[in-house]
Symmetry: C2
Subunit: 185 residues, 2 copies
DNA sequence: GTCTATAGCTAGATAGAC
DNA sequence: GTCTATCTAGCTATAGAC
């Protein structure tokens, strides 16, 4: 076996970057080849089902990163709610590159992408809701209020990313993260 | 001259439907031809610059509809603020088909679309902000608060559309419209 | 104004050398 | 594991008949 030119993590990172920027339909195999440095045939060797498997891998990889670096931080034992939330919001800022990068859910959720990934996207969003609901419960909000606040948080994040992109102004995203903090504490 | 098979309004409506569903990159001329009932060459006769001109026309047409049916309603002389807001929110619900349809800004704001339409999208969003700011001023909010509430309203609309689509649950969009009403009144 | 036909290109995908 | 070469299908776009 030849050595890998690019390891799995680097590969997924490049794929993620280009898919989140151009969307599923707007990303060609040539784009993916150029951005990873691997030829198309090599990409097919690593991902036999082509572009849809690459996007799927990006979804899985991102889901794991978010679980480890956001949800776990948000509900970590033995830390104050303030510090858990603050740290989680810092990780969210990192995930979206300060508002410059789009959410992978959005990038894959036009019709063609939805036909392939709707379950992943739906389940992924439910995990965000659950994580923030658990955070709400940990600060003794009622079940109902914890759910409501979690939903508003998800809407704030997604909405501020769309508006930041549209107005080309990342302060909108940053201000929204600050507001999320204020709404909880 | 032969008669038009499809008038401009019907044409734009079909183009809008398909572009908002599939996004700019995900919509092919064949899709546009199938959905409008006009052959590709006929579409080029009506829009000599092809797909980008069709999307541009959809943006312009939607912008006019929104100005006439949402912004004008929201700031109509001689009606109570409650009734203006309620009516505008009904029109917003109509624009997005109860949360089933995506926003044209979102459908055109992956990278390839942004390269072509960033100014339209940015200016369009600024008009939403201005319209809601003026509404806020009309109910005697401070300049600062009126701007802040307008931004949150835009974020709520865009965010709830993304989350509704992702979770395939339009009640999220509907509940957000109700909340917008509560936040103002 | 709409159509058929077609040009020229790029897409996704595969075969087989090294 | 990566590559070059290639296939077929689909893409955007145009020419020219009616």
């Amino acid at each position: 076996m030849r050595p890998q030119k690019v390891n799995d993590d680097e590969l997924i990172t490049s794929l993620s970057k280009i898919l989140r920027t151009h969307g599923y339909e707007g990303t060609s195999l040539k784009d993916l080849s150029d951005s990873t440095g691997l030829k198309k045939a090599s990409l097919y060797h690593r991902f036999p089902n082509g572009k849809k498997e690459m996007a799927q891998s990006v979804l899985n990889h991102t889901g794991k990163w978010v679980a480890d670096n956001i949800f776990n931080v948000l509900n970590k034992e033995g830390e104050t709610a303030e510090s858990r939330l603050k740290n989680a919001l810092l990780q969210i800022q990192k995930l979206y590159n300060g508002g410059l990068d789009s959410c992978i859910f959005r990038a894959l959720s036009m019709q063609n992408g939805m036909d392939l990934f709707s379950d992943n996207i739906s389940n992924g969003m439910k995990e965000w809701l659950e994580a923030f609901k658990n955070f709400g419960l940990s600060i003794h909000l009622s079940e109902h209020l914890a759910e409501e606040k979690a939903m508003q948080t998800l809407i704030d994040i997604q909405g501020s990313l769309v508006v930041s992109k549209g107005l080309q102004d990342t302060t909108i995203f940053e201000n929204t993260l600050k507001k999320i903090e204020d709404k909880y504490i």
